[in-house]
């Protein structure tokens, strides 16, 4: 910071939010704190929150991988090898002569146990290299290419880093492609919820009175009924013949229709609280126009809280999509999402033969935990005067 170092005014020990507290909280010099904006203070506090930072980096990585899925996934979603159905994961081996490699396998079904059996051909090698040519894909939907980050060096060779699914497709590739839907449905769903929440919460908080009372009762009603049966009911009414995109949109709308309530409550609560702040009254008495009061004085005061609430709402959406798809009422194959992938793992018998089919579940857990960490960290950091409640 190139800010000139200013001598800091006497802090009074008993008061909250003095420069000393803040500089301790944020680990910055009190001179820097004195001229730091709230956003900067929040960011400084957030950076001291270790779990939140881990969560944030996890999310950055996951969304990057999702955005460049074709590059990170060794295979495309449509590439499969029937004889490799339920192929177990192959750990790459290393020798100085061959570099990283796996052996090719041939699969058949054991006629007695009916279990799939795979035999390694230790004579031959499948070399694993970086930046290899493989299945063609469009990077970001624009640039046509066939370069993959890591995979078998010759196109047509198979390698199952996390095993294969029921059809003999590479599970790792499917998880990476699945993240596109699973991670985005949470964001889109929350965006729609947020819109509804802002609108209804805003109306409720701004008008107050009877409108407020009615909306509050509606919200309470929504919160007091089990949502999953409702989701199921609504989702079941989405015609199975619909394509992937309309289904995706419908599911998003259904999830957000029932998810806006908690957001609306938060927004209304914050709005009512901020409306009563002295500095808003002061702005009113300054003759500031209503628009400027709302956008310059009130909105900045709750954006951080809204962001925190939203980042805590995203994981719930991800979990819901997974659950719906898992139950066969959400997205259906050939669409690829983590929930759809988990459909394969519905019975204990399947899991007993191919436990790796639960791995998409781990991806869900990781994403949800990351979002929760970030949301928690944001909520803690967003407190304007560092008063912990």
């Amino acid at each position: 910071m190139s800010q000139p170092q200013l001598p800091v005014a006497d802090p009074e020990p008993d008061e909250t939010g003095t420069t000393e507290d803040l500089s301790a909280e944020t680990g910055r010099s009190s001179g820097a704190v004195a001229s730091a904006s709230q956003r900067r203070l929040i960011w400084w506090r957030f950076r001291k929150h270790r779990l939140a930072m881990i969560g944030m980096w996890l999310l950055v990585i996951m969304y990057t991988v999702a955005a460049f899925a074709g590059f990170f996934a060794p295979f495309s979603t449509s590439s499969y090898e029937g004889q490799h159905a339920y192929h177990p994961p192959q750990v790459p081996q290393f020798s100085f002569a061959e570099g990283l490699y796996v052996h090719p396998t041939t699969g058949h079904t054991d006629l007695e146990t009916l279990a799939p059996v795979f035999e390694e051909n230790t004579e031959e090698f499948i070399h694993l290299r970086f930046f290899v040519h493989g299945d063609e894909y469009k990077l970001l939907g624009l640039i046509e290419t066939d370069i993959h980050l890591f995979g078998p060096s010759e196109p047509g060779e198979r390698w199952y880093a996390l095993g294969a699914d029921r059809t003999g497709a590479d599970l790792l590739s499917k998880i990476i492609y699945g993240s596109q839907i699973s991670l985005s449905i949470g964001l889109v769903g929350v965006a729609v919820s947020l819109l509804l929440g802002l609108l209804l919460g805003g109306i409720s908080g701004y008008f107050g009175g009877t409108v407020d009372t009615i909306l509050q009762r509606v919200i309470e009603l929504f919160m007091s009924i089990p949502t999953l049966p409702l989701w199921l009911g609504l989702a079941a009414s989405v015609p199975p013949q619909w394509g992937a995109v309309p289904t995706y949109l419908m599911i998003t709308v259904i999830l957000s229709l029932l998810g806006w309530t908690s957001l609306a409550r938060v927004i209304r609560g914050r709005l009512l609280q901020i409306r009563d702040e002295d500095y808003v009254l002061a702005a009113n008495l300054d003759g500031v126009s209503t628009g400027r009061i709302i956008f310059r004085h009130m909105v900045p005061a709750f954006t951080s809280h809204i962001i925190a609430t939203v980042s805590l709402a995203v994981p719930a959406m991800i979990l819901s999509e997974t659950a719906l798809s898992f139950l066969g009422l959400g997205l259906r194959a050939p669409a690829v999402s983590w929930g759809v992938l988990l459909q394969d793992a519905q019975s204990v018998n399947v899991i007993a033969t191919a436990p790796w089919l639960l791995i998409p579940g781990l991806a869900v857990v990781l994403a949800v935990v990351a979002f929760n960490f970030v949301g928690d960290g944001l909520r803690d950091s967003a407190d304007p005067y560092g008063k912990r409640s």
């Binding site: 301790a24 001229s35 702005a283």
Partner: protein, 623 residues
């Protein structure tokens, strides 16, 4: 039978049975006390708050002696460590604080054994046997210091369950007797009341009953009247004095209010930043203070003529009564000649209120916050609006600001010759007057947008009125910063970088940046420590003189009003009960409520203690 047996067992489990052994371990020779007549001898006490960022010494190596049978007042401003000292004595310092080092020698009986209670374990039986039974504690906020989900009877009885062998009926009798003693009417019913069903004064009485029911030899009262209105404060102070005499107790009284000290103290301890600066008998502290800080504190008190025994306030000659200021002088002496700047007529403000009970929700009650008030303020003068909490003074101020639209009545504002009725103007029509009538808020924290720099905060009204922009705006803001005693460069900082007093200066700068004529100051100095308060009051007076401002000064603090106001208006339950020149209202109050209010204000001179009878105002209609 079985039930009472169980209850007896439970009580034995609660009672501090291991106390004698633990106390014996910390016994010290009586000779080690610095004064044989003392009940408490604190030696080199250090209490620290351990936080992630390091240690803070709230109490920093202090020593003090409390004489048996006397009232020792510990005074200091916020952050002085006075409260931490009181709590250290029985080791109930809030987390993460703890008694770090030092000795606290406590001698419960005049010739009894002496124990170093600082050496006891914080959660052990030893200290528990002293808490509540030997040393009682009263806190500032009776609402939050009592559990909201237990009846007051239950909470008071607990002390006896712990420290006596009385059975249930005996305990209940004792509690009722104690409630009677502290002046709670209908104690047989109130014993089963919850805190939210009692008024603030009643709650504090219940708290006192709880602290005293086990007849402790030492009572520690930590700001027990700070949260109360001045009339209630007077009652509680009288009650404490009576009880102390009747029960021949020793009392340690923590306060920031020197007026209260003058009323009740025998000995005074002045603290600042965790250190003891000065100790001595109350006479000596008030009339021959040694330490400069003590002198500074005393200087912030309203001066009164001593020795006459009368309560006549002697006004400081205000610096603004200069010959050159013709308007001001004429105002003071014959104001009818001058057209008032603001003329309020028949102002009435009602609020819809959802009544307290859940069952009758929907039945809206109209609350009349301001009832038919008429007032005038002459240009260049200061009108003080006083009253206790809930009297409608803030509502009146906000009606003048048109933060509220009054239910009825007119607010005539003299806009350069022609009068405008602000009460009926629309939001748009009001805009030009937003510049002329400005407000200074009570809370220096909440009233500044934490997300704007000080430059933006102060510039906001100029920008909104379209009076200046760009570098001209910045220049005016910086000039204003300098005018209120801050540095120009501070404009780029955010409000969190300032102390309470500085923030209030920023609030004043914001109010004055548009060259207003009328400033409504709503409890503008109430949240500040006394020394800072004096500076802000001086600043306001200077600015008034320089800019020819008119003030509507709203405050619950009579001593402040007396010091700065030309005329005073007194409100009571929404009604204006008295209005007149400050001097005559203070010297010769006409209305019963004003008389009661004035008689309740502590006289900041120990020599005049008891020289003035308390007047109690009990109108028939007051509920």
């Amino acid at each position: 039978m079985a039930v009472s047996f169980l209850r007896a067992r439970r009580r034995r489990k609660m009672a501090p049975v291991k106390a004698p052994r633990e106390l014996a371990a910390v016994a010290v020779e009586p000779e080690e006390m610095s004064d044989p007549g003392a009940i408490l001898d604190i030696q080199n006490l250090r209490t620290t708050f351990r936080t992630d960022e390091g240690e803070v010494n709230a109490v920093n190596d202090i020593s003090l002696v409390v004489q048996r049978g006397r009232t020792t007042c510990i005074v200091g401003e916020s952050g002085s460590g006075k409260s931490a000292t009181a709590r250290s004595i029985i080791q109930v310092v809030d987390n993460p604080g703890m008694v770090e080092s030092g000795r606290i020698l406590f001698r419960a009986e005049p010739e009894g054994p002496v124990h170093d209670i600082a050496a006891l374990s914080e959660t052990g039986d030893g200290i528990r046997s002293i808490r509540g039974s030997q040393i009682g504690l009263i806190f500032q906020e009776p609402m939050s210091s009592l559990s909201p989900v237990h009846t007051i009877g239950n909470q008071i009885a607990e002390v006896l369950e712990l420290h006596t062998d009385l059975d249930e009926t005996q305990i209940r009798e004792r509690v009722i007797a104690e409630l009677t003693a502290v002046g709670i009417p209908d104690p047989e019913e109130r014993i089963d009341a919850y805190t939210f069903q009692l008024s603030g004064g009643m709650r504090q009485r219940a708290m006192i009953a709880m602290a005293l029911i086990a007849r402790p030899s030492l009572l520690i009262a930590d700001e027990p009247t700070t949260a109360l209105d001045v009339t209630t404060q007077a009652q509680i102070l009288d009650l404490l004095a009576d009880l102390k005499r009747d029960l021949s107790m020793t009392m340690i009284f923590i306060t920031h209010d020197l007026g209260v000290v003058a009323e009740i103290a025998d000995d005074v301890v002045v603290m600042r930043h965790g250190k003891v600066l000065e100790t001595g008998p109350v006479e000596q502290i008030f009339h021959a203070p040694q330490h400069p800080y003590t002198k500074e504190l005393l200087a912030s008190l309203p001066q009164r003529e001593s020795g006459t025994g009368a309560t006549e306030p002697v006004r400081e000659v205000p610096p603004r009564v200069e010959v050159s200021d013709a308007v001001e002088m004429s105002v003071r002496h014959d104001e009818p000649d001058v057209e008032p700047l603001l003329r309020i007529e028949g102002l009435r403000m009602e609020f819809d209120s959802v009544s307290g009970s859940m069952f009758s929700r929907g039945q809206k009650k109209r609350i009349v916050a301001v009832n038919d008030v008429s007032l005038q303020i002459a240009p260049g003068s200061t009108l003080g609006l006083v009253g206790e909490s809930g009297c409608g003074k803030t509502t009146l101020g906000r009606c003048v600001m048109r933060a509220y639209r009054p239910t009825a009545g007119q607010i005539h504002y003299d806009d350069g010759g022609h009068a405008v009725d602000l009460a009926t103007l629309s939001k748009k029509e009001l805009r030009p007057y937003r510049r002329l009538i400005r407000m200074v808020f009570q809370d220096p924290y909440g009233s500044l947008n934490p997300r704007m720099t000080v430059r933006e905060v102060i510039g906001e009204p100029l920008r909104a009125a379209g009076l200046a922009q760009g570098s001209e705006l910045d220049d005016r803001v910086e000039a204003m910063l300098e005018r209120v005693g801050l540095r120009r460069a501070m404009g780029s900082r955010y409000p969190h970088a300032f102390s309470g007093g500085e923030r209030q200066r920023i609030g004043i700068a914001r109010a004055l940046i548009t060259d207003p004529t009328l400033v409504v100051a709503d409890e503008a100095v109430s949240a500040l420590d006394v020394s800072v308060r004096t500076q802000i009051l001086e600043l306001l007076a200077e600015l008034q003189q320089e800019l020819g401002l008119t003030y509507l000064f709203i405050s619950h603090d009579l001593s402040v009003v007396e010091r700065v106001c030309d005329r005073v208006a007194v409100m009571y339950y929404g009604n204006l009960v008295e209005e007149g020149p400050a001097q005559s209202v203070f010297e010769n109050p006409q209305h019963g409520y004003t008389q009661a209010l004035l008689s309740a204000v502590p006289i900041p001179d120990p020599r005049l203690r008891g020289s003035r009878p308390r007047i109690v105002y009990r109108p028939e209609e007051a509920a």
